[in-house]
Amino acid sequence: MLISDLVTPSAVIASLKATSKKQALQELARRAAELTGEPERAIFDVLLERERLGTTGVGDGVAIPHGKLANLPRLFGMFARLDRPIDFEAIDEQPVDLIFLLLAPGGAGADHLKALARVSRLLRDRTIRDKLRGSETAEALFALLVEQQASAA
């Protein structure tokens, strides 16, 4: 599975404004609703419900909120870099500024986990995180996310 199978250029946000975890999830749900046509409320609820089981802030300033939506046709990924880091109740208590949102269809089966593993492995790479933090535009961010698929398999 490749990152380019998950994210399109329009699903990359270079500077998302949010002051809290809840607000960040709300904002992401709004953008994801625009791109997928799914109801914003349903997306937000799914993400919030997942956070209740345990935080998706995986450490090093990265969060990977995710969840399943029954009617979604295919896996949907969205990447956002935050304007300024926020508290995400992350595993290492560090504030989060890189968020990869992943939504999976009801019948995604093992693909959901594979996609998460792929994203998690990508963002675990310190050099990639540094580059993502140093890039200006959404285009540059997108290029970084998909270029890695060849080397960091």
């Binding site: 599975m1 345990g54 935080t55 208590e93 986990l113 594979k114 675990r124 398999a153």
Partner: protein, 599 residues
């Protein structure tokens, strides 16, 4: 008179200077990560006859005396610091390693020594016996080296093993020497079995009895506070030497004495603990300096091919074989077994034991001594230097605990059920985020005073704590760690630290069925209603420690945070451990000879 004065003050001058220099070098060595003990040994060698100091020293008897006291003190301190919980989970595997493990190590190393040095099998076995036990000083010190936290079950096993395995090695060494020096008919197996029983059972009984006796004594007598640690040390050494005098294992006894004292509330707890911390350091420094002085480096490598061969065989063959055999009945996975096998640290004990044959005048005495010395250096260099990387490589490293707060315990009367301590508030600590009166402190915690810039603050006037304030509080013993968290800076976890710990955190009360719904993880022999907490505890058996892992689906669940025995949070690792560790992934791919399909 003049001459005596000269000699006395020369001795004091050189001795004190060496110790001071060793302590100052600790700073440098911790920066480059070199095992401290090696540094002390090196200083001793430098000061010795072949080094710049040029001090001729070859007094095996004095070394044996000082070494005995130092080892005993180190074991006592190790016992004081081993919490009952660690002892409980580690006792069975550690006991197996300390007996079967030591025997197997001694035999395999002995056979190799026989072959490498072309000596008789009894001498070979004697060499094997001297180098068969891991060293308490080295293990306690290196496992707790700066910034390394290793999965509890593994580190506890290694520590308790090192506290208990010296008696077995000592017993084997002495049995071999008796055998070598026996003039008449060969010694009967029954005699050997008798010695063994006396060493082990006698040592255990005297140690535990001595521990409770010492506990009773300390809680009964009223003496100046500064005398309690001295009383503890003197009484412990009495137990040690008393046991040795009647042919029971004093080393086992004094470790158990420390264990009993350290795990029962007693008077002057803080003073005793701090004093013995210092005393154990001094013992390590003195012992290694002296051993460094004792050896003649130029003679050390007379037979270097054989010596290195024995050292490598011990590290790569004998220890792993012994660990895998001794741990076969216990639940450890391959990574944990490998780590335990790798951390077979040798320290002062082999050198110390190898000085016995020299003193007993056994023909190959010096050869045995030199082999032991080379083995210890090789072990400290190869294994001592690589503990942290090995833990990381095998995914056994835990995320760092919050940085140690400047917490100072305060001794209270025995009958109180709370502990008193002072904390220095760290910059960036959670306590700074909320106004003082709204601080969410654990139940039954009472702040006694806040001190800022040397002045006690009016508490009702205090709006918010500041960094470097001192907070003095009473708290229930189980809440002290929670207070540490509140007053210390959040851990600055660099990326690599977390690597072994999986991808996502889940609360312990989440039912496994939810994970199945979300990720389509197959549930084999599991009820969907079973919670993560219940499932992991069921699979782990009686005891649970942070870092313990249980297979789940294609990956595993790892214990992340505990409250007593309840699992508060667990990390879900999506992929099996070897896939999470880049090095192992690469290795596996190389072995498979092809690129694994992209996940």
């Amino acid at each position: 008179m003049e001459a005596i004065n000269q000699l006395v003050f020369q001795l004091i001058f050189v001795g004190a200077l060496l110790v001071a220099a060793s302590i100052l070098l600790v700073m440098i060595s911790s920066r480059i990560g070199a095992p401290l003990l090696l540094v002390f040994l090196g200083i001793g060698m430098l000061a010795g006859e072949d080094g710049i100091g040029g001090i001729p020293f070859s007094d095996f008897r004095l070394t044996y005396l000082v070494g005995s006291v130092a080892l005993a003190i180190i074991l006592f301190d190790g016992g004081l610091r081993t919490p009952r919980s660690a002892f409980r989970i580690a006792l069975a595997p550690a006991a197996s390693l300390a007996t079967v493990g030591v025997l197997v190590t001694a035999v395999i190393a002995g056979v190799i020594a026989c072959w490498a040095l072309q000596v008789g099998w009894l001498t070979g076995l004697l060499i094997g016996a001297t180098i068969a036990s891991t060293d308490a000083a080295a293990v306690f010190l290196l496992l707790h080296a700066r910034g390394t936290e290793i999965a509890k079950r593994v580190s506890a096993t290694l520590e308790v093993e090192s506290g208990m395995n010296d008696p077995m090695a000592i017993f084997l060494t002495i049995a071999c020497i008796e055998w070598v020096t026996a003039t008449q008919a060969p010694i009967s197996p029954l005699h050997i079995a008798g010695i063994f029983a006396m060493q082990m059972l006698g040592g255990t009984a005297i140690g535990i009895g001595g521990g409770f006796g010492l506990l009773w004594l300390i809680n009964r007598v009223e003496i100046a506070a500064g005398l309690y640690p001295i009383l503890a040390a003197a009484a412990a050494l009495t137990v040690f030497a008393g046991a040795q005098l009647i042919d029971a294992s004093g080393f086992l006894a004094i470790y158990l004495t420390g264990l009993v004292l350290g795990n029962n509330r007693h008077r002057a707890q803080q003073v005793i603990s701090r004093f013995h911390d210092g005393l154990a350091w001094l013992s390590q420094i003195t012992m290694f300096l002296l051993l460094g002085l004792l050896v003649t480096p130029s003679a050390l490598f007379a037979d270097w091919r054989a010596e290195i061969a024995i050292a490598l065989a011990l590290i790569f063959v004998a220890r792993p074989a012994a660990v895998f055999l001794a741990l076969a009945p216990f639940r450890f996975d391959l990574r944990e077994r490998s780590f335990i096998a790798w951390v077979g640290l040798r320290g002062a004990v082999p050198i110390f034991l190898a000085s016995i044959p020299v003193m007993a005048g056994i023909p190959d005495g010096m050869t045995i001594f030199n082999v032991a010395f080379v083995v210890v250096i090789a072990s400290l260099l190869l294994q001592g230097w690589t503990i942290a990387p090995a833990a990381r490589f095998l995914g056994l490293e835990l995320p760092p605990a919050p940085e140690q707060t400047a917490r100072q315990g305060i001794d209270l009367p025995l009958s109180t059920d709370r502990e008193a301590a002072s904390w220095r508030v760290a910059p960036g600590s959670p306590a700074l985020a909320t106004p003082f009166r709204d601080l969410n402190l654990p139940r039954r915690t009472r702040v006694i005073a806040v001190i800022r810039d040397g002045a006690v603050q009016q508490r009702d006037m205090l709006d918010r704590l500041q960094a470097d304030d001192y907070v003095i509080a009473l708290a229930a013993p189980q809440h002290v760690i929670a207070l540490d968290r509140i007053f210390s800076a959040p851990s600055t976890a660099p990326g690599g630290k977390r690597r072994g710990m999986g991808d996502f955190l889940f609360n312990g009360d989440v039912p496994l069925g939810r994970l199945h719904d979300l990720y389509a993880i197959p549930l084999r022999d599991v009820q969907p209603e079973e919670t993560i907490d219940a499932y992991m505890r069921r699979r782990l058996g009686g005891t649970v420690e942070v870092g313990d892992h249980v297979p789940f689906g294609t990956g595993e669940l790892i214990v992340y945070a505990l409250d007593k025995d309840r699992i508060l949070r667990a990390a879900l690792a999506i992929e099996p451990a070897e896939d999470r560790l880049p090095v192992l992934r690469l290795l596996r791919r190389l072995l498979a000879g092809r690129r694994a399909p992209d996940a």
